[in-house]
Symmetry: C2
Subunit: 262 residues, 2 copies
DNA sequence: GAGTGGTCTAGACCACTTG
DNA sequence: AAGTGGTCTAGACCACTCA
């Protein structure tokens, strides 16, 4: 066991009211913030911290678990605890559904990924008819059954987003939209070909901690929230023609919107 | 110590590979999801869980800490562990900075809160000149010094948002904008009176876990992320006239945006 | 004062990774 | 085989809340 390089981590203040495990977490956090442990670097092992601070192992683990839930570090079984690397971020611009992009034929996700020099994939694509949840149903004008299209997006091999599109059956049944691959420009291009000229999209954004299922699907490390985005597409007659429910790894995204001052 | 009502929580599966503390967390999570513990309800005490499952206290505490970081429960010292109550949610619409709202004279925050039947306050208002961070400076066209306006918003007594506005000094110095209370319609109304007619706003949204400082300022319970929103206001000449950096308690907000399909 | 969660100890054994 | 984190035990004492 290597000795801890001196000076990186200080000593405890026995006169402080602050719990020992919080003091240890504070010191490690500060060392990370000040760049003494850089992104991806390995922290001292639990055993080293036990020796350095003269506390029990559970106390050290408690400190590290704080930093994990803050999203500062990740632990890897058998290897160590590391400063969490920041993945490349995908920027979603508010013009990402503009018609001019659709007309170029490629899906928005793939085009943007290529522009950023990333390799992107789409997997676990499922298409089928089902009964919508109350929320989805209400947004679509209360259809009894809908077409659901589920898919997961990966960026350089890492899952970053899981999305489900819902469309009223009378719109989508027996159309290319019901096919796994709907063709160039995606389902929005097909909707317009079918006579549903799109007028606008409404997006609702929340952030929260992931469910255990979402942790698995997106392979999220602890301390990473999700962005939950629900988009409703309206045609020029004011009808809701699609609802897209999207869950994104929050550390992989920044969403951008432009608002008129009018 | 009251006995645990039978049937609410099951037994452990000793043949399972899943760690005991995860199994316990799974069972409590499922009970919450199925409504057997409703919002605000008290969970069985740690001692009751120890007895029910026949495990040590640390194992039970480990289970509960999982549910805490998931944002499902909150613990209160000396009282118990409770299903986390969902606070009222503030909806931010994408037309919230429309000129017609400004012209009514009240701040957007107060108007919306009143409409929702909530009591709102603004506190810890600080106004002063300072040197901007690199990021803020770049967004504002690299001024050396800026006017900073910090304030915290509360809804029914609960802090929900902390925001700082930055304006180039040459715009704001010796104007009502440099006053703690800038007058009816807020700083955007003042900017327009000063000849900076607003054209549009760009907003960037991220979500992440809060820093310890943000936990204190917003009194966040564990398992609640923050939404970090940075808005830049542009005048009709294309100049960035303000940057507003906002940190929101994610469980108190849903953001809504409308995108044109054009 | 009884019940609750918060902190901490000193061990034990296991599973995973690396040389 | 050595080092790492993952799980679990059986205690102890403390601080807070409520009757």
């Amino acid at each position: 066991m290597a000795a801890l390089s001196p000076g990186v981590l200080g000593a405890l203040d026995p006169t402080s009211d602050r719990a020992v495990f919080r003091q240890i977490a504070d010191q490690i956090r500060e060392a990370i913030d000040k760049g003494r442990f850089t992104e991806g670097a390995k922290l001292p092992s639990e055993a080293e911290l036990v020796e350095h601070y003269g506390v029990s192992r559970m106390t050290v683990r408690n400190s590290l678990s704080i930093l994990q839930t803050e999203g500062l570090v990740v632990s890897e079984h058998g290897k160590g605890v590391f400063v969490r690397p920041r993945p490349p971020v995908r920027r979603l611009a508010s013009d990402r559904f503009a018609r001019r992009h659709r007309e170029q034929g490629k899906s928005a996700f793939l085009v943007e990924a290529e522009a950023a020099g990333s390799k992107s994939e789409v997997d676990s694509l499922e298409v089928g008819e089902e009964r919508p949840s109350q929320d989805i149903s209400a947004r679509l004008g209360s259809p009894r059954r809908v077409l659901a299209r589920r898919r997961r997006y990966l960026l350089d091999g890492r899952p970053v987003e899981f999305a489900t599109s819902y469309l009223p059956l009378d719109l989508a049944r027996n159309t290319p939209i019901a096919q796994p691959n709907p063709g160039p420009g995606g389902i929005y291009a097909r909707l317009e070909e079918l006579g549903h000229r799109l007028d606008h999209f409404d997006e609702e954004i929340k952030a929260r901690m992931p469910t255990p299922q979402e942790v698995r699907t997106l392979r999220l490390s602890s301390g990473v929230p999700v962005i939950h985005l629900v988009r409703t597409a309206y045609d020029t007659e004011g009808r809701a023609v699609e609802v897209c429910d999207t869950v994104m790894a929050a550390d992989a995204y920044v969403l951008a919107y432009r608002l008129p001052a009018t």
